[in-house]
């Protein structure tokens, strides 16, 4: 499972591009495929974008050319959109009749295809294949006169997830879809307003968290004034924050949806320990996302915590796979066990989720080869049964093992001695909300808005 994107924006700062660079640095975990920054000096938007990590895309040279006082940035991991076209790298920057505009978008618009077809029928020419470009065309095509009206007009037509930053030659605008799928935080730094997907970006630059951009809210900053608007037609939209942000995507040192990810994640582990206790000698995490729930499980169960699997952090996207003739390197390129710890021990392994089951199986085999006597798998989220259409890269239903197998069957497939998943109720309780605050579609299939068949069918074919 891989998450879409990270966005960052800043208004009124002489080092706008540099702070955006730092913000993207802190948000690198949300997208490693490409990175980009657009900046305006009030007259002209300039930008730099490329494939690669933030640290390889931006060099001193390229940053220096990005002069201005307002900036937006974007890290991308694509799910929709052919990932290999440079035309899909964000921020998208266009010139149109009344000036320039840059947008950075995290999320997934479920009626994007439908909207695109209509726009193309009217003669619009698209460069790339992202959802995000549809938003740009809707704005430019709107018959409204003022930019904000055009934007509102465009947003009111969108269905799906968007945490969006829009920059014109003079304005910075942040918008979050009425359901509030993805996080979007607002902060303050020495009189500058900043926006970011997660607060860890604020911590790095020394900014103070103010509040979240609310679901359905549009925050406009212009001439130093902040004003707030409501996206029309979303009065009945059910708040549907993505609980998977807590499980996996967000950094543990971030605060999202108003809560500390670390605390929520540890609480997942504690509740899991109460729901699925077991007699064992050691609790070990599958790093990195399993570390915090494993600490929770260990603290609640009093079973000692050890880093029984060591993760190689140099593994990047470009690892060359072995020939088919060679033995499978499997998960070893990422994870290596400590046999001295595991020998003859009963082990509880904590992971955040099971997708296809193949990785869990490999990990458990590796632990047994390293000497573990028993391996009990505990998952810090409920079984993932349904695909996500709102910004998370899940495989099709038939590839999600939990959509067709009972927990017992999964336990057998992954060759664990026992298997326990966190309950949906436990998860929601730990996330501190009531069920009405979160989207739980990937666990129970209750999608908060109807998804067009073109999308669901596409997801089947993937």
């Amino acid at each position: 499972m891989k998450e879409y994107c990270g966005v960052f924006g800043i208004y009124n700062n002489p080092n706008a591009a540099y702070y955006t660079y730092l913000g993207l640095y802190a948000l690198q975990h949300r997208g490693q495929e490409s990175a980009g920054i657009a900046v305006t000096n009030g007259e002209r938007i300039t930008y730099y974008r490329d494939f690669g990590l933030v640290s390889s895309v931006f060099k001193n040279e390229s940053l220096k050319h990005l002069t201005g006082f307002v900036a937006v940035g974007h890290n991308r991991y694509s799910t929709s959109g052919a990932s290999d076209s440079p035309d899909n790298i964000q921020p998208i920057v266009v010139s149109y009749k009344y000036g320039q505009m840059a947008i950075a978008h995290n999320g997934n618009i479920v009626n994007a295809l439908e909207l695109r077809e209509k726009l193309e029928e009217e003669g619009s020419i698209f460069r790339g294949t992202t959802d995000s470009e549809v938003i740009v065309h809707l704005i430019v095509k709107s018959k409204k006169r003022k930019f904000l009206e055009k934007l509102m007009d465009a947003l009111s037509k969108l269905k799906g997830a968007y945490s969006l930053l829009v920059m014109t030659n003079k304005k910075l605008i942040a918008a979050r879809d009425p359901w509030g799928f993805r996080p979007l935080c607002m902060g303050e730094l020495d009189g500058s307003i900043v926006f970011a997907s997660e607060t860890c970006a604020f911590d790095l630059i020394g900014a103070k968290y103010i509040r979240d951009v609310e679901p359905g809210e549009v925050v406009v900053i212009e001439n130093g004034e902040i004003s707030s608007y409501q996206i029309p037609g979303c009065e009945n939209c059910k708040k549907s924050q993505c609980v998977f942000e807590f499980v996996y995507f967000a950094r543990p040192d971030s605060k999202i949806f108003g809560k500390s990810v670390y605390e929520v994640r540890k609480e997942f582990g504690k509740i899991l320990a109460r729901e699925y206790p077991v007699k064992a000698d050691l609790v070990i995490p599958v790093p990195d996302s399993g570390v915090v729930p494993a600490l929770g499980y260990s603290q609640e169960s009093r079973i000692p915590f050890e880093m029984g699997l060591i993760r190689n952090h140099y593994v990047g996207r470009t690892f060359i796979k072995p020939d088919q003739k060679m033995r499978d390197i499997g998960v070893r390129v990422k994870l290596n066990p400590i046999p001295e710890l595991l020998k003859n021990k009963r082990i509880v392994v904590i992971d955040d989720s099971i997708v296809r089951g193949t990785t869990s199986r490999k990990i458990i085999r590796m632990l047994r080869e390293a000497g573990a006597k028993e391996v009990h798998m505990r998952i810090s989220s409920p079984p993932t049964k349904w695909p996500c259409y709102f910004g998370i890269d899940t495989p099709t239903r038939d590839q999600l093992i939990a959509s067709s197998h009972s927990i017992e069957e999964i336990c057998k497939y992954i060759e664990a001695d026992s298997l326990g998943y966190l309950s949906l109720e436990g998860m929601i309780r730990a996330a501190g909300g009531n069920k009405d605050s979160f989207c739980t579609a990937c666990f129970d299939g209750n999608y908060p808005l109807s998804v067009p068949e073109t999308i669901t069918r596409q997801a089947e074919k993937k």
Copy 2:
């Protein structure tokens, strides 16, 4: 502090280059500046080397051209040798009168300068500035007739640290200096012999650890036969394995000098907890090297362990520093605290060492800003007082805070509530040897061999 290099070699394998690629991948933590692989098909050595991480240096294309059955590889972080010359990237490959030769070297030759001057006087022309090139010239210049004799002749002239792999068109040779400063392990994979700086490289490729190459030993593999020789003139050399490999450099999932790094490192933490107990609410590590000793400290002291500092693993070498006018980003680009955990708590922070003291000071300030009531620093090694000349990148004496300050003074400088260092005796005990097995020069100034003044003076000026 940064470590020199990682080396890997394999003999008699149809996928020699690919396994070397994997081996370097696993050893990436030992050098991130450049990487290279040389391979022989029995007739001709070909090689590929460049600046960058293993994953960016080697692409499918470049690997495919490296066909052969014997290979050596090298990851480099330079201390001696101007780091920016491509002529210093290893393996060094040369053609000479009787064929080709490739060498990969981890360590630091203290009489390199002296040897180089003599060679140059006799008309040798050097390409780069590394110690390692001296070894090559000594071999080529030797009056002995057979290659092995030439090599022995050359090695007997060297003073200092070398874990060395030498490949000719047909042979693979591993050599370790008589003092045994750096680790060098030998393993077996489906009938192929492999060598690596650490066993984590064996784990990734599925090789079995056999034994260490012994201090002063030269292992020769030729025509499928393994033979072992002793470097002449080293009968009285004191075994001097680098204990800092346990403290900091080696991966916790490796075995070096015959011991599990994880176990030794945890034992550091346990002994530290006994030597420097404190009343506190939480034990937190400075990740990554502090994690395992912190677990030891927590288990011994029964003070709960938490990941109170989150490390951003995307931080690479190319981070662009802020302008001097901007606020110092400091350690935040790497580490971010979890305020919810720390607020009003008494914290024990575990780090592996203190060099200048500035980083510790920044970390402690950051923890207090995040709400910590008390911060007790515990270091899983004794005070670092003397520069290393055998392969570790230490600053000059006057920059090592412990060489001029008492522990109390350091405690005050870093603004900790208390400070405790692991004792030398405790460290040696945990490392499982007696004092005669390890080099402890960086702690007590007892250098196992005399270092030429040119080197020590150079170290002063650095």
Copy 3:
């Protein structure tokens, strides 16, 4: 003066991309800034484009990926359009509602700005700044149903110069503006139809010249059938072929507008010799464009021809200029005289045109320094007095020395002993047509269609 572009297209050939590569190779003189090829296999258009010469843009690898049976290619030297944006490199390839389309355009649309503004008002978003992109948007926005109708609709709105190749997923279409400013030839190769700016492209691939695409004609090739259409609304357009193609741009081994460039160019020299005879010892050309008229002058005048100026053909676009402190390298980097030939001789120098006069002055000074006793300048075209808006890169009027100076004054400025320009009548006669066939606007200001003030003003500011 620099010319716009070269275009090449081929229909129904298994080596379509390779022949297009060759075609662009032969047309390299028409544009050295960027090159591109788009190819369709009937299903999908793929393309490759970059800055640089054909030989550096296309490598074996990139060509191999361009598989298909129909291709269009483009060499570009920009006059309109910021030359440094990759979005301006042609062929332009877009996806729209009903498929894909690639276009390659040579020429200059004088009402492009006006059309663009209207399109943008209706919500079109442009990528680059070229005239050519306007054509694409006009086609996509047309309300007509069939592609050919859309194209005709679009073309009927254009004013200016276009020799255009349009490729859809299945069709290849060639169109030439009603005035016929730029050349566009049609040929045949083993059953494949080919189009090119000049016939030298046919010679290289072994194709046979059939005929020119006529002014106002649209040739459509689909399903192997060739059909011809007339662009509506151009019944009264005056044929206005660019006579400067003969003077300077076209290769001497090409046939354009139905005539051999070599023969026309030599005839220029002969008529010039009759119109401006002089007593002299040698006729020398300013190579390369002066060579053929110089031969004509020499043959007519019986004054011996010599290559008194040698041209360095390695001079490219990237020559590094000297510091201002250093002496001016001037024209010497391109041209070097042979003093042994020139000493004490009376020289006739033949060049194709005089723009600002500075280069002529430098050449004449260089010839005198090399020993020439007298230097008589002869120009194989009439004085250039008016800017071109149809595809030739002329400076503004006030920079054209002939627009404000008499021939006598120019002669004095360039420090020649005498100066003679070919008469307009002589030129037209040599070009084999009557005055009604050619555009002579740059000589007499008679523009064949009215040019919007926005364009003429822009030209003034340049």
Copy 4:
């Protein structure tokens, strides 16, 4: 046939690197494979080298870093030395015991292999495979004390062709082998001394030609003083200047061996016209090297000169060849005929030499296809029968058509109506010397020094 190299050097100029850049620009025709410049500021030599043309190797950035007052530069086309190793790019720059040294070498050392073997036996390690590196090792290995003595010692051991520039941290030295195979000119620019392979390099920078470096002479410039020495042991060496420089390699606007290339080359044509007259309608050259002798032939024979073949000057090294299935593009990528000129005409074609005969055959066929009634081939040099070992890239004897075929047979093979070669006597007369001044080995096999069998055998295998 392709020539080795061009060299350029300058002493005592604040713009040393830039003038060297210009010098290499002017000498680009002598080598297009790689280019390099080394410069000293009196303390330290810095350099920049790469594959490619001068214009692509050097950018503003790279030139700016080359600061100093003395510089040497080199253009290379390799014959000996694997052309694809970056270690073979010149100038060669090395550090040795007593400082740094850079050398740029044009020529071919026939005893290089022998010398190399001896050096390697003594333990020297070579980086590349060029002859030139042998010179460097000989200098460094010399037992003499002063640099000049070391150099003289080294040069006295060399047999073969070298026009050599050697730069130390303070000195610039020019040396020419005792036979004087390759040209080497000395000039003056505003108080700076310059050296170049040909005088066209002086013309570009505005330097004045002083004299040639004499065969066997070593010119040393140090502390602003010029001194001249004689290479010992060359008293009986026969002056053997390469007459092929006049025929083909040198630029027509250069002066070499004290004579104007243009004048010599035209005289070749005139004598050829007297030796092999023919009734014909047109004289046409094979451009570029045939142009000047064709002018001579035309002037002498009174047969009109025309540029009946047009050369595409954009053809570089990277032309992608067609598949074998496609028709042969042959010489057309370089040369295209003008059918309007040739139709029904009797043509004299002038080329500089015939190597294998295949190109001549293609040209003659192409001319006939273009309508020529008769084609008479005239060659402005005698038949090339023997390979060159002194710096010219000739094929082996059995590939030289003239070594095994009579002129009549060649005429038949190339399908000419008649064929005439310039006589050796005529050539020597035109070159203005007596036979004792020139090497004529490629025509008559009289090699001026004995060539080791290893070399001649190697040449056979090529």
